[in-house]
């Protein structure tokens, strides 16, 4: 196993741990807003670590570019969804 493989494996495992943390947060946190916080931040950090780990093994630059593109789109999507759900939940409280 080369150093690159080891770094990639470490990044992938760290990413999976962040996904687990996001799910635990979704189950354990007390209200919608803190659950949103767990989901949209921790899960996207985990996805970023996965993308970094996979990019280390990618064959060519276009593949890396596509992986990064997927992550950026997921970030934008999470930000939008978090904003919409949070404002919806806040209207429900009033």
């Amino acid at each position: 196993m080369t150093l690159l493989d080891a770094a990639s494996a470490a990044l992938l495992c760290a990413g999976a741990l962040f996904f687990l943390a996001g799910t635990v947060g979704l189950l354990r946190f007390p209200d919608v807003h803190s659950r949103l916080h767990a989901l949209t931040k921790v899960d996207n950090l985990g996805l970023g670590l996965l993308v970094a780990g996979l990019a280390l093994q990618a064959d060519s630059a276009p593949v890396v570019a596509k992986l990064v593109l997927v992550w950026l789109l997921a970030l934008a999507a999470a930000a939008t969804a978090a904003f919409l759900v949070a404002s919806h939940a806040r209207r429900g409280d009033e």
Binding site: S8, A16, F19, T23, V70, A74, V85, G92
Partner: protein, 83 residues
């Protein structure tokens, strides 16, 4: 390396299944909708891992589409559930 990617994909599926508990518990519609967001992000991660493990580059395109559709589901929910 492929075994690791496959194993991690399986692990992510298990965390997804765990997240389904929140759909059942609720208590509000927004809480259940959060699980859709979880499916979006985790699903993208699973697809990227599978693309690497099974040498199927097309799955990366599927991941791109899933990331987009997950947010559309949330938008549709907010539009419909708002009084």
């Amino acid at each position: 390396m492929q075994a690791l990617a496959l194993g991690l994909a399986l692990f992510l599926v298990l965390t997804l299944a765990l997240g389904l508990v929140r759909v059942v518990r609720g208590p509000t519609h927004a809480d259940s909708m959060l699980a859709a967001q979880l499916f979006g992000t985790t699903g993208v991660g699973i697809l990227l891992l599978l693309a690497e493990a099974m040498a199927m580059p097309a799955l990366r395109d599927a991941a791109l589409v899933l990331a987009l559709l997950a947010v559309l589901a949330v938008v549709a929910f907010v539009r419909r559930d708002t009084p």
